[in-house]
Structure formats: structure tokens, C-alpha cells
Symmetry: C2
Subunit: 162 residues, 2 copies
């Protein structure tokens, strides 16, 4: 078990240890530890997302309201196994994007702990309302965590740059 001092030095003051059924490794949520773009790309590959140019990903992360990594703890080289980020004004609105947990780490409740952490961070900013766009296969996942589907019969609409 890593010491609290070591974890704080690696993952920042706001880090949170994730309880998992597998006690072989520690998993840590952090909004402070910097995300390596190549590691993030490998994670996105593993969950089957299409690639984006790294310089655009870098800028998108820089301009996000919140970036959260889920790390498999290793004192020398923590491994990124989950991710989520938010855009928004940080007051009235925040929107969650790019929620991913590596397939090898799915099924252990880590996605839920990642979302709880994200909402706790947004709550500490006193954001009024958080929104997201749920793919069909994860709608039930979000509803089970207290998200309201299409309140007031709102529908989501997208416009894609030509």
C-alpha cells in the first residue's frame, strides 16, 4: 500500500483512491496529475475511438474546465486506465465528454467511481447543472447514477463542421 505522501506527490491533493475487488493494484483518481497525450491516445485506441490530431487534443485539454485521469498506481510509472473531461463555464453549465475506462479494467465499478469523482469536483465549483450526451449502450448506466434523461423533453442536436 502506497503512503498518502507518495500518492499526493504523484496525484495531487485532490486524488481519491478507488476501492476495487482486486487488491493487487491501487487505482487512483486525479484531476491534477498531468495527462500524457500518447497515453491518452493509447487509451482511446483501446476503447475503439477514432484518433484525433495530437495538437488539437492538447489544445482541447488545455481549454477544458476539468480533466480527470484514473491511474493504476505505480511509484515509478502510473498507467492511465481511465479518463473523463468537462467543458463549461464552471458556474451555470458543465458538460462531460470522453468518458473512458480501459476494457481490462471495466466491470469493477470504476466508471461509476470516475463519474462520482467528476461530479464531486464540479459540485465543489458550485456548478448548477451538468449535461452529457449518452450513447445508447450507456444510457442505463447514467440513469442508475441519478442522471435525468431528456428533462422537459429536451433533445440533443449536433452540427458537424464541413
Amino acid at each position: 500500500m502506497a503512503s498518502a505522501e507518495l500518492l499526493t506527490s504523484l496525484y495531487g491533493d485532490q486524488h481519491r483512491l478507488c476501492p476495487t475487488p482486486n487488491s493487487q493494484h491501487s487505482l487512483v483518481l486525479s484531476r491534477e496529475r498531468e495527462i500524457d497525450l500518447f497515453e491518452l491516445e493509447r487509451l482511446c485506441d483501446a476503447v475503439g475511438w477514432s484518433r484525433r490530431p495530437l495538437r488539437r487534443v492538447r489544445k482541447a485539454l488545455q481549454h477544458s474546465l476539468l480533466r480527470v485521469g484514473l491511474w493504476r498506481h505505480d511509484p515509478r510509472m502510473p498507467k492511465l486506465v481511465g479518463f473523463a473531461r468537462c467543458t463549461g463555464d464552471g458556474v451555470v453549465e458543465a458538460t462531460v465528454w470522453d468518458v473512458a475506462v480501459h476494457p481490462l479494467y471495466q466491470g469493477a465499478g470504476l466508471g461509476k467511481q470516475l463519474m462520482v469523482y467528476v461530479l464531486d469536483q464540479l459540485r465543489s465549483m458550485e456548478v448548477d447543472r451538468v449535461s452529457l450526451f449518452a450513447d445508447p449502450e450507456v444510457v442505463a448506466f447514467y440513469i442508475a447514477q441519478g442522471w435525468e434523461l431528456e428533462p422537459l423533453q429536451r433533445r440533443c442536436a449536433f452540427w458537424y463542421s464541413p
Copy 2:
């Protein structure tokens, strides 16, 4: 008819004159002219939105990616008659919020021109994708302008701060 110099001094380089059937007054879109919070509150009252604390609205505007006003031109005191804003990272994602046109100015195609202006500004930033949440009564409005409703069967979900 106001001179281009006067319009630029009042509304900035990026302003756009709106063609309207009523030639009595000029209507101008601007992302640069500063929005007065009290005027914005009166506009939101006119369209029937619930009020928010002004200090939070100020902060939300400051942290928005884009703020657009629709102004009835007056050389001394332009009047705010429409509004929209976006949050986002300005690269991959942008989300449109708080689209409003004063009831006295509705029905003249101004909402559409406001949205075209917003998308043109986002396109100039090279944003990949723009999203919004449409109330039932404006879903057809957005579809008519090329927005795609719930692509890939995505559903919107909201979480409200307790």
C-alpha cells in the same frame, strides 16, 4: 443608414448587419460589444426565463467561449434584443446555450441569422462539432438549419446540483 465606421466602433470588426423586412431600424449581430448584465436580465425576463444571480451570470459569461448579442442599432444606446452563448474547448467541442430573441423581434428570421452567425464564428475557430439541447418547440427550427437530432441515437442527460 449608419456608416460602417460607426457600426465598427460600436459593435467591433466582426459585426454583421441583419437584413430584415422592417427597414425602420438596423439590427446588428456582434460577438465583441460588451453585454450589459441588466439588459440581458431584461431580455431573459421578456422571454420568460427564470432569473439567476447577476454575479453568477457575470462569471458564466466571462468563462464562455463565445457571447453574441443581437442589437437594435442606435448611435447613442443600442438595445439588446437577442443573445446566444457557447461553452466548449474551442477545438473539438462547443455547446450553444441561452439562445433568445425578444418576442417583439421574433418571426423575422432573426433567430436563424443569430445561429448562422454563431456557427460562422465557431467555424472560424475550426471547432469540429457543435452541440445544443433543444426544447421541444424549437426542435424543428434547428433541424431546418441542418442540425442533426440525436446522431447515433445519442440521448441527452442532465444532473442538477442539489
